[in-house]
Symmetry: C2
DNA sequence: CGGGAAATTGATGACTTTCAAGGTGTGTGG
DNA sequence: CCACACACCTTGAAAGTCATCAATTTCCCG
């Protein structure tokens, strides 16, 4: 059918960073091997979060920085009225926890979309390692820059695009993501239900469903539940107004 | 009438950080006096940007980190199709430039809304200072955290709120901002035209104008061009669904 | 004081949400 | 292994929100 998105170390959750299939996209990617081994001694690689459970919540004090090994998470914020906005989906290799950098308090919730394995670096350890390792500081900046860029891109989408353009943009981003990790860019499985995706894209679930139907009829895509097939890349790109 | 938003050092643009009226909100706020003086020697305090000119553009290589001394800027991104989204307005004391942290390349444009004075720290200097000064690293993280929090908040607004709720949220944020800097929270001047504000809030100019009219009729606010008066704080907060 | 940008207002139509109903798939317990 | 319950997803109809086009007014700058 199509490639699974599970990394090979799904079972062995204490694999070394240098042997981890995610090493090139994860925090250690820019570190020297000596830096990596120093970092490695401080990583708790045993954190498991069950589906629908949270890694942290808004107003929690920061405990650490996390990297997703397998599974998937969403981060979201809400206001007093209960309005909620999903900010980002975190796939294997993605980092999270930077939202607490301002006050040491998390501003968002991180919830598992499926059973998820994490690497955790306690914040104190992380801080002291940053003192010692210039490479880690650089990597931190890259990761933070990525997060800022992601937010900016989503703002553009929510602020200026129509609903169908938003979905097209999202699908192209996912396609690129999987492609960059060696998976198929035409067929992939997204980890979130319609409800979460529609919230992320700032529209009603029904609207999302209708768009999917329309885009399927037009021969742009197929979406069977969470299995996405991109049928006409060029048209999809034209719809998204971007090269991605 | 109401207090001007010009800091007292508008003319003297080479005032020392410790004497600057913005010291408590700017980068040096968490530094010791020795750290501050070390930082100070590396700051170029003479950068002046005229209205409608840019500090940097998307795809520019990062030159430095900036702090707004007086005036105001907007940062914005756009895609191939020319769709543009304003990401943030930067008022005196705000920092910018972190968007280039991922690749060393700016992802957004920074444009002056009015004649603006900036403090500039060349990126190489900034990097090497970060090596030496733990306090600066901490401050950097705070500033970056603030930026992330701002983006998250705007995402919630664009993704989940109606147009009038978005404006209410924005006005309350501005009110809080000026209040925290010792200005009136009921009457203040915003630095951007309707066009920019409507773009920022993800709506058409006409829609913004209509909302203002409606909210004026309801006795919530008054807005004479850029002069904002908050007439009924509680109703405004209720509309925004938040305490801010 | 005049020209032009900025802002407001009105009419219309497109897009999106909401409410409602029905369909599809999955997982669990008998 | 089947059946049922439930969550997830889709579709339809109606209503509401917002954008667009157009015209007008207001204000600012030279």
């Amino acid at each position: 059918m199509f490639m699974q998105n599970k990394p090979s170390n799904f079972i062995n959750n204490t694999v070394k960073c240098e042997s981890c299939s995610l090493v090139h996209v994860c925090l250690p990617s820019g570190l020297s091997s000596s830096e990596m081994s120093l970092l490695e001694t401080s990583i708790d690689k045993t954190t498991k979060i069950n589906k629908k459970e949270t890694v942290f919540k808004a107003n929690d004090e920061i405990e650490g920085i996390y990297a997703v090994k397998s599974g998937a998470l969403k981060t979201s914020i809400s206001n007093r009225d209960g309005q909620e906005q999903i900010l980002e989906f975190h796939l294997p290799g993605d980092m999270l926890g930077f939202d607490a950098f301002n006050q040491g308090i998390h501003t968002c919730n991180a919830t598992a979309l499926e059973d998820t394995l994490l690497c955790k670096i306690p914040i104190e350890t992380f801080d002291s390692l940053c003192e010692k390792l210039p490479g880690l500081r650089r990597e931190l900046r890259h990761q933070v820059g990525k997060e800022i860029a992601h937010n900016q891109s989503l703002l553009l989408s929510l602020g200026q695009q129509q609903t169908d353009e938003r979905l097209a943009t999202f699908l192209l981003k996912m396609s690129d993501h999987y492609k960059s990790r060696g998976f198929s860019s035409n067929e992939f499985v997204i980890p979130m239900p319609r409800q979460d995706l529609s919230n992320y894209l700032g529209m009603a679930v029904e609207t999302l469903s209708r768009i999917i139907s329309r885009m399927t009829e037009s021969g742009l895509i197929k979406m069977d539940r969470r299995v996405v097939s991109i049928m006409d890349l060029e048209k999809l790109q034209a719809l998204a107004h971007s090269s991605c």
